[in-house]
Amino acid sequence: MISRRNFVMGSGIAGGGLLAGRPAVALQDAEGVAEVGTDAPAQQTGSASVVTPNGVSLPFRVVEGVKVFHLIAEPVEHEFAPGLKGSCWGYNGRTSGPTIEAVEGDRVRIYVTNRLPEPTTIHWHGIILPNGMDGVGGLNQPYIRPGETFRYEFTFLYPGTYMYHPHVDEMTQMGMGLMGMIVVHQRNPRYQVDRDFAIMLSEWYVPIGARRPDPREMSDFNVLTLNSKAFPGTEPLVVRTGQRVRMRFGNLSAMDNHPIHLHGYFFKITATDGGPIAETAQWPETTVLVPVGATRDIEFVADAPGDWAMHCHFTHHIMNQMGHEGPNVIGLDPAGLDDRIRPLLPGYMTMGQSGMAGMGHMGMSMPDNSIPMKGAPGKHDYLDMGGMFTVLKVRDDITSYQDPGWYQNPPGTLSRQASSEELEADGISL
């Protein structure tokens, strides 16, 4: 798997294209014609390649005008976040699978090899194609049995954001991580975007202290992911101030829609997997609800520098491995309780009685391979979040899309503790 994306960024920025406002073009100049690679859509359209945070695009080769891809469904060892590994299923060694990138009108041939212990197929979600290529096991095609390789061939007729996933034993196979994004670029876009992100939303249940996701879970999902990563495992989205940004969300969660909320901006929802929304029909939003089995594109101009949170607004979806078995202890009077229980259980500590902030960094020992309540250190304090949480980092004058670190707030623009003089001056008594 080549790490083309980093090279793209590096070369584009180094070549000064970014400063010219057309990095993708500069990139095309630097790379020339690639027989095998993922950059061809950019060459063909002048748009930026898609960035799949924590992921990659799927390489291809062109054979007599047909783009040939190869997906291998197989068990993978995956890290959701530091401290939590999972025995999952994925494509080409990863979950989510690599993003398939092509251009409107491309003829594609996609080989699918099954290295799973059970039959599978791939359904090309949202793609308009011949019925026999639709991938519903038993309905449109025979199963791809373990060890077999099937061949799909069709033309991407319409640009847009789509997904691929198995259509045999869907509950198990998607619950274990088999899914990926498809981006079909417009051949002749009316305008280009500078940053184009593809993010798959999904959810898992990994018992605390275990490592294999349990796909039978119906409601108690405890690992919520962006491209199969839970914060603090999610890469930040780095953007230069003033760039036009597109984010493409797909949702293949088992049971949940996700209201994805972006701080610092309003944006417009420009497309679904059903196609583009007429500009006159787009309305401004700060949260996009991404239903299960659908995609949403949003666009905005990143004109406000800062570290802006982006997350699902379901509060339970920004927690890591929250348990529910014990009683709610908020408000419990803890006086003398530790002294009473420690003779029986020396490791005991009363906790949670004042709320659950900071539970992730109390330094208590935890079950192996688990990240209960875990967040990450932030610039000002502990970042008490997990799951579907990431940071949009907008910066002036950056020359690289590497993580630029924390935002330095200009003087006078940072909330702080009020002084008593200030309180008094404003007539607030405590």
């Binding site: 202290g209 202890v329 009473r340 259980l345 949670g352 659950m356």
Partner: protein, 457 residues
């Protein structure tokens, strides 16, 4: 004259023999003492010979009392045991009785006819056949005394075994009580948390009531455990013959870990037979019965004979001469007595065989139980208890992760204590098996009933 001389001489001889050799005051208890010492390393005590034990008991009680100390006290101080040892005194008395020659019967008669000189007669006779058979009577009684000596030795060993097992039972009861108290503390803590959570408005009355029910049940269980420990201690007090302030003794330590492996099976059966005091006792009983049979046959063949001398004056003349009276064994030649003794002999022989079979079987059973119990104890100690510790640790981690609550954490501790109680019960059974095995190898077959409960009301 010659008969008179004979009789007198025989009397003197037998008297000397019987008084000097046969019925020593200790009734052979010294040999019992040696046996008990060799077989079990214990000091046998007979209050009749050794005097009252008071100071020694007080001295042992002044320090924590272990199982062997309890046995020592009980051997000194238990009056039921002492009463049973008096069987020796009784057997010795019977031997003494059998060893003494018959007394001499004197008969005097005087008749007076008026105008004539008074007539008189004076006779001295003794039971000559009894005198003749005296060595045989003594033989029977001395065989019975031998039997009683081995019976007494076995009985003392059996008694020591009951004290030892009663001690293990009490030790176990104290440990179980301690663990039940830990469960009670855990339940109290759980109930406390539930009450606080209910006060905070976090759990419904139902959950609080459930926690309370568990707490109250634990209280009941601890009370039962306390009563059991009390009665087990009382049982020991009775076995040790203690009362008043003496009962305030202190328990020394906990049930120990198992000792070395059980002895080899082949060796074991032979040893248990060799060592058996029960079998030796039966041998002596058999010998006594055989001697009774011989005596009965001899008595049946000889006429019952009384002999002596008579001095009389009749019609003015004095007469002096021997007298003899005898039963002619025409009809009863002692056939009934002989048959009785022979039936007893057959019975004893069969009892001997049966006892030997039981001993072999018992020693195999004891060894098997010892092995099984030792393995069970090891399994608890090396596998289950560490596993319970691990479960507590893992539950603690899950609690830290807020996946499990404090109730589950406390429950894990409670489950660990319950396992510890099973471990104590396994240890208790192991020490029972160990005591039984030692007992059989010391020469005493421990029966399911009988002397196990000796000394108990």
């Amino acid at each position: 004259m010659p008969i008179m001389k004979l009789v007198t001489h025989s009397c003197m001889l037998l008297l000397l023999l019987s008084l000097s050799a046969c019925a020593a005051r200790d009734a052979g208890f010294e040999s019992v003492r040696d046996l008990i010492d060799q077989r079990a390393g214990l000091d046998a005590h007979w209050r009749y010979l050794d005097g009252p034990p008071d100071e020694r008991v007080a001295e042992i009680l002044s320090r924590p009392v272990g199982s062997e100390e309890a046995v020592r006290i009980a051997l000194l101080n238990n009056s039921d045991l002492q009463a049973s040892i008096e069987e020796l005194g009784i057997a010795r008395a019977l031997l003494l009785d059998a060893s003494l020659p018959p007394n001499i019967e004197l008969e005097a008669e005087r008749s007076e006819v008026p105008s004539e000189r008074a007539e008189f007669s004076f006779a001295a006779t003794t039971d000559l056949s009894r005198l003749l058979f005296l060595p045989m009577y003594r033989g029977v009684a001395s065989a019975e005394l031998d039997a009683v000596r081995f019976q007494t030795a076995g009985m003392i060993l059996g008694f020591a075994h009951s004290v030892r097992t009663a001690y293990y039972d009490y030790q176990a009861a104290e440990q179980l009580l301690e663990l039940d108290e830990t469960v009670l503390e855990a339940a109290a803590a759980s109930y406390d948390v539930a009450q606080r959570l209910h006060d905070a408005g976090n759990i419904p009355a139902l959950e609080l009531a459930n926690e309370r029910a568990f707490y109250e049940e634990s209280r009941g269980q601890a009370a039962i455990a306390e009563a059991v420990a009390f009665s087990r201690r009382e049982r020991l007090n009775a076995l040790m013959g203690l009362s008043g302030m003496e009962t305030n003794w202190q328990l020394a330590g906990r049930l120990a870990d198992p000792q070395e492996e059980a002895p080899d099976l082949v060796d074991l059966e032979a040893r248990s037979i060799d060592q058996s005091l029960d079998l030796v006792e039966l041998e002596h009983r058999y010998r006594a019965a055989a001697r009774r049979a011989n005596l009965a046959r001899a008595e049946g063949l000889l006429p019952s004979l009384r002999a002596g001398v008579e001095l009389s004056r009749e019609e003015g003349t004095r007469e002096f001469g021997p007298v003899i009276s005898l039963d002619l064994p025409l009809f009863n030649q002692g056939q009934g007595q002989v048959a009785l003794a022979r039936a007893e002999m057959r019975q004893l022989e069969l009892q001997y065989r049966a006892r030997a079979v039981r001993i072999r079987s018992a020693v195999r059973t004891a060894r098997n139980e010892l092995l099984v119990d030792a393995r069970r104890v090891e399994h608890y100690r090396d596998v289950l208890l560490p596993l319970r510790e691990q479960i507590i640790d893992e539950t603690q981690l899950q609690y830290n992760a807020m996946e499990l609550g404090v109730f589950q954490l406390i429950a894990a501790r409670r489950d660990q204590v319950r396992t510890a109680q099973e471990y104590v019960r396994a240890l208790q059974e192991y020490w029972h098996a160990r005591a039984t095995m030692d007992q059989i190898l010391a020469g005493r077959l421990v029966s399911a009933e009988g002397d196990l409960d000796m000394g108990m009301p």
